[in-house]
């Protein structure tokens, strides 16, 4: 195949596939704890790292990794300890990171907005041999964490309070997810760019869960989708001369739409099957949308035993 003949394209394809594997592998835990936009936030913060790299004439990639890790730890700590104004604090971090990046890169002698754009939107064609070595090492670390600790990370992301009562080191595991996400963002920066990196972490997971019922299957399906779209996007960009990052993200969204359409009859069949499996259950039960605890059609025929109360409100505030 012509595409595999140049070393440049070989490196681009390998980098794309590695990112296709690790982005959904981390993203699934972020989606599970409803932090789908955290990848976006880390991407913004990493901009400052890129700018700093240009200003200090060191490698922008390693500088971005360092700053993204610091930023992700800060975000996790704000999430864990920040009470009511946590979202504002996160917003400050996101925009501050972005603005800092633009400012620093313009202050540096070598940097310009043109350099910035290759980090914002990806530049697969500039992946060097040394970059690829770094990507291999970082990707291996991410896979080790997300697969090796999947049970623990699942428990922590599923129900943090319960995980703490099982004695798991919840804070350490949360920080590990944050750092792993930061590493993934900076690896994926070369492929899809900082502005689109979050899409590759979230969209394959969202697409996979249209047709899955279990976490394990969602994980595998998301990684397969991620790999398929990064590979297809890179090949398409080679033949059609379109930007790879944007192509990859649009392909992923296409997969999401196709699976959503396919999933509708599947969900209906499963609902029928589960209704018939229930048999004598006096309550009519279908799949419910959203959190199961929300009041909805599943409300049982017993009187509501809880209502909105000061205690519940106070507890929610504390939980946030």
């Amino acid at each position: 195949m012509e595409i595999l003949e140049t070393a440049l394209m070989q490196r681009a394809l390998i980098a794309a596939v590695l990112v296709g594997v690790i982005a959904p592998a981390v993203g699934i835990y972020l989606v599970q704890r409803r932090q789908a936009l955290m990848g976006d936030g880390i991407g913004h913060v990493a901009m400052t790292g890129v700018g700093l790299g240009f200003l200090l004439s060191t490698s922008p990639v390693w500088m971005a990794t360092a700053v993204a890790i610091v930023g992700s730890i800060a975000m996790e700590l704000i999430r864990a300890y920040g009470r009511t104004r946590g979202d504002i604090a996160l917003a400050m971090l996101f925009y501050g990171g972005m603005a800092g990046g633009v400012l620093l890169i313009n202050l540096s002698p070598t940097g310009s907005n043109a350099n910035l754009s290759s980090y914002l939107f990806g530049s697969l064609s500039t992946v060097s041999e040394a970059d690829l070595d770094a990507i291999w090492v970082l990707a291996a670390l991410v896979v080790l964490v997300t697969v090796g600790l999947r049970r623990q990370l699942f428990a922590v992301s599923q129900d943090e309070e319960f995980a703490r009562v099982t004695g798991l080191p919840v804070r350490a595991l949360n920080l590990l997810v944050a750092v792993t996400a930061a590493v993934t963002v900076t690896v994926a920066m070369r492929v899809v760019g900082l502005l689109l990196v979050s899409a590759l972490m979230v969209v394959p997971v969202a697409a996979a869960q249209q047709i899955t019922r279990s976490f394990a299957v969602t994980f595998v399906t998301a990684v397969v989708i991620g790999t398929a779209v990064t590979l297809a996007g890179t090949v398409t960009s080679y033949y059609q001369d379109v930007p790879p990052g944007a192509t990859i993200v649009l392909l992923a969204i296409g997969v999401f739409l196709v699976l959503t359409v396919l999933a509708t009859p599947l969900a209906r069949r499963r609902a029928r099957a589960s209704r018939s499996a229930e048999g004598g259950d006096p309550v009519a039960e279908g799949p419910v949308e959203g959190p199961v605890g929300s009041p909805g059609p599943e409300s049982p025929p017993v009187p509501a035993m809880r209502g909105p109360s000061d205690e519940a409100t106070a507890r929610r505030e504390l939980a946030e």
Binding site: Q32, Q152, V165, S214, V288, V292, A304, M305
Partner: protein
Amino acid sequence: MATTHTGRAESAGREADDVPRTAPDTGSTPPPAPTVLSLRGATATLGSRPVLRGIDLSLRRGEVVALLGANGSGKSTAVRSVIGQVPLTGGEVTLFGTPLRRFRDWSRVGYVPQRTTAASGVPATVREVVASGRLSRTGLLRWPTRADRAAVQRVIELVGLADRAKDAVGALSGGQHQRVLIARALAAEPELLIMDEPMAGVDLASQEILAATLREQVTAGTTVLLVLHELGPLEPLIDRAVVLREGRVMHDGPPPKAVGQHAPAGDEPGHPASQGHLANQGCHPHAAGEPLRTGLLT
């Protein structure tokens, strides 16, 4: 009024504490069971509002204790402080004789949170959620063994969800969902089970299964602390009821009988009738009595 209640509750607490020192002298009675959980003078605030104003509570092994009270009385905060989710501003918690700060043996404790949390952003099956309860035994690095998988299967069968083990928890009814959370807590085979409103919003069929599951655990010797809004179908299981009001213990003794009968009238949260009702429980004639086992399990 309030001071009398507190005084009464404290005297009840002291009597319970005196039991182990006097009991061994009489040869006929068995030695008292060790204390599994104790809260002493616990105070806590949420925001700036004091929620617990000095709570004493202790559970001996095998006891089934219901924590009752109106919304806002501090019962959920009390159990959440026991598992370290709400920091105490004063007093202390011990689990199995170890101060909470140094307690590490979490596989001995099973916790069922208020039903809100098990549906997350990614689908997960009943088995996956229940298996996460086993992590207190497998820990951070040990791989799950055949015994771990068997334990998970056993508790799924125990709550009657074997045929739904591969279904997503998001597709379950409220009652089935609650059964998943209880199975998750039981997966580690705990000695102490702490449940926060296990019957809230649960259909009748599931209530019966839950009561049967709990009965089985209690028969096997598990200690249980339940937060309840009303005794309901669990009433025969309960040895002792502790009624909280405004962060203080109003009653510590046999479950007040009237609650079960009049419960529907007082169900509306914040209803004046329910407030008055709980105040009456504080003045219950048995309030100062020793904890009694109702012995309805066998």
